[in-house]
């Protein structure tokens, strides 16, 4: 069990956004998390990365309890994520966006940062090399020097993934990576995700798009905060409860 969510519950006042959710993700898998709007998918991501704290439940990563860890230390442990509305460092160019995300080794301290010592310059050069690699992986090498806020939507989404990859994650949480994209861009993102998986990164992805479902090994369906189904994409497609949740009851032929 790589990532294990046990009995996770989050209440916002009277609203139960996530209710007693159990999800497990094995190493090397691509797991899809789907469900109608307001099902609590993004809240689940925010709970895993401690952007909000759960009311109840436990989150284990690599057999380590990360439920109440701070966001930044969860990121350091190897949980990378993107956001649905995709905030970026808008005034940084693509290269800076990616290189800022790199974990500078603990051997350099504030003194090295301040005086830009030889050790720090060496680290920075290494980081720039790796940044170029990641930018090439997601196909943004042509816009490397463009400010992130001036990029088109598709490239911004790609940049979000590149930034999450830069922290050298063991698991990547993608929040609607292909929402609002044209078919070409969807194609390139799917390719990039497959490449990422080939490098041994586990992926947990929120998506509505069927194209994305097809590359998932397993799909978890949520509705009103609860898990209502789990299985292979084909099983989920044929599941009546899932169809009811998406389209409402009584309309399915």
């Amino acid at each position: 069990m790589f990532l294990e969510v046990k009995g996770l519950t989050k209440k916002f006042g009277g609203l139960t956004a996530v209710n007693n959710l159990d999800v497990t993700v094995n190493k090397g898998e691509i797991v899809g998390l789907i469900g109608p709007n307001g099902a609590g998918k993004t809240t689940t991501f925010n709970l895993i990365t401690s952007v909000v704290l759960p009311t109840k439940g436990k989150i284990l990563f690599n057999n380590e309890d990360i439920t109440y860890c701070k966001s930044h230390s969860i990121a350091r442990k190897g949980v990378g994520r993107t956001f649905q509305l995709n905030p970026l460092f808008g005034d940084f160019d693509v290269l800076q966006n990616v290189s800022t995300a790199f974990h500078i080794p603990d051997t350099s301290n504030l003194f090295d940062f301040y005086f830009n010592t030889r050790k720090h310059r060496y680290n920075k050069e290494k980081i720039l090399e790796k940044s170029h690699e990641i930018i090439k992986l997601v196909g943004l090498e042509k816009v490397e020097k463009v400010l992130a806020k001036n990029l088109p939507h598709g490239n911004q989404k790609m940049l979000g993934i590149a930034r999450a990859l830069a922290i050298n994650p063991k698991i990547l949480l993608l929040d609607e990576p292909i929402a609002g994209m044209n078919p070409d861009e969807v194609d390139s993102i799917l390719k990039a995700i497959n490449k990422i998986r080939a490098q041994g990164v586990t992926v947990l992805v929120i998506e509505h798009n069927m194209l994305m479902m097809n590359i998932c090994d397993r799909v978890v369906v949520m509705s009103f905060g609860q898990k209502i189904a789990e299985g292979t994409p084909q099983e989920i497609r044929d599941n009546e409860e899932v169809q009811t949740a998406y389209f409402g009851g009584g309309y399915i032929a």
Binding site: K70, F92, Q96, T100, N116, A166
Partner: protein, 331 residues
Amino acid sequence: MTADNHKFLADKGSILKVCLTASLIIFLFLLPLFVGSPYYLHILLLTFIYTVASISLRTITISGQFPLAHAAFMGIGAYFSALAAKFWGWPPLLCILLSAFATMFIGMLVGYLFSRLRTLYYAIGSLFFGIGVIYIIYAFPCTGGYTGMMGIPRLFQSADKLPYYYFFLIVAVFSIAALYRFEHSHIGTILKAISQSHLVASSIGINEVWYRVLVNGVGCFFVGLIGAGYAHYNMAMSPTAFDFMATLWLCMYVLIGGITSFAGPIIGTFILFLLPEFVRGLQIYAPYFSAFLLFIVIFFMPKGLVSLPNLLKDYFLKRKEGGGISNVSGS
């Protein structure tokens, strides 16, 4: 890294900047040879003090938060140093250094307390901290309360302005260089990242709270240092010098000069401080003049007075090209 240095020197803009800065510093060092009047030295010296204060305020704002208690931190430095020198009899130079560290410590503490607040809420929180500091100063009898504090030991034995002039010039040059290095180091990059999106910053493993506490500490260190120096120069001071109005003036220097650029607060302070001196007869109109300038800056140069040369260049280029579509990016 030699390649980078080479590029740095080959850049025409940076050569110009380095030359300008160097000549300005040399000019200021030689200025007392030509300006003998103690009054002008006094004005220049105050300009140095407020330049350091406004530039350290801008350093805190690169983390995306705008504190409204900066003059209060100056007051903390000034009163700490004055009390230590007056009642414990420590040498003023030691007091100034110690009070800079004390201000840094208090700044970090306040930064930590307010680390959950952002933007407007942070501004309001720090505003009330600033007001609170003034009332604490009022409350203690040893600080002299409303009437102010007298008989603070002076830094140098003579009453001459010249040693003070050089002391504050050196402190200002040192502080500005240190803060410049701070902003252009990796720490500055991280702070700018936090200011653009704290969510993304923590999702890539940046400890937002620690860096915000750090930048508060650094900003307060320099304002405490210069505030303590001010106390030992003036020998008398009252809490009104560090109240909310004083903070607002610091904000004015930063905003009119240009908050997006490092040189902004320096230019803002020099213009707002020195310009009224040239038209002495109109000095009572200085606040109106400043407010008018603020309006002009907000409407026509959102990046501050420091962006004026670029704006003029763009304007004339456009005129020369015959009013085609502007290729000057907005914002």
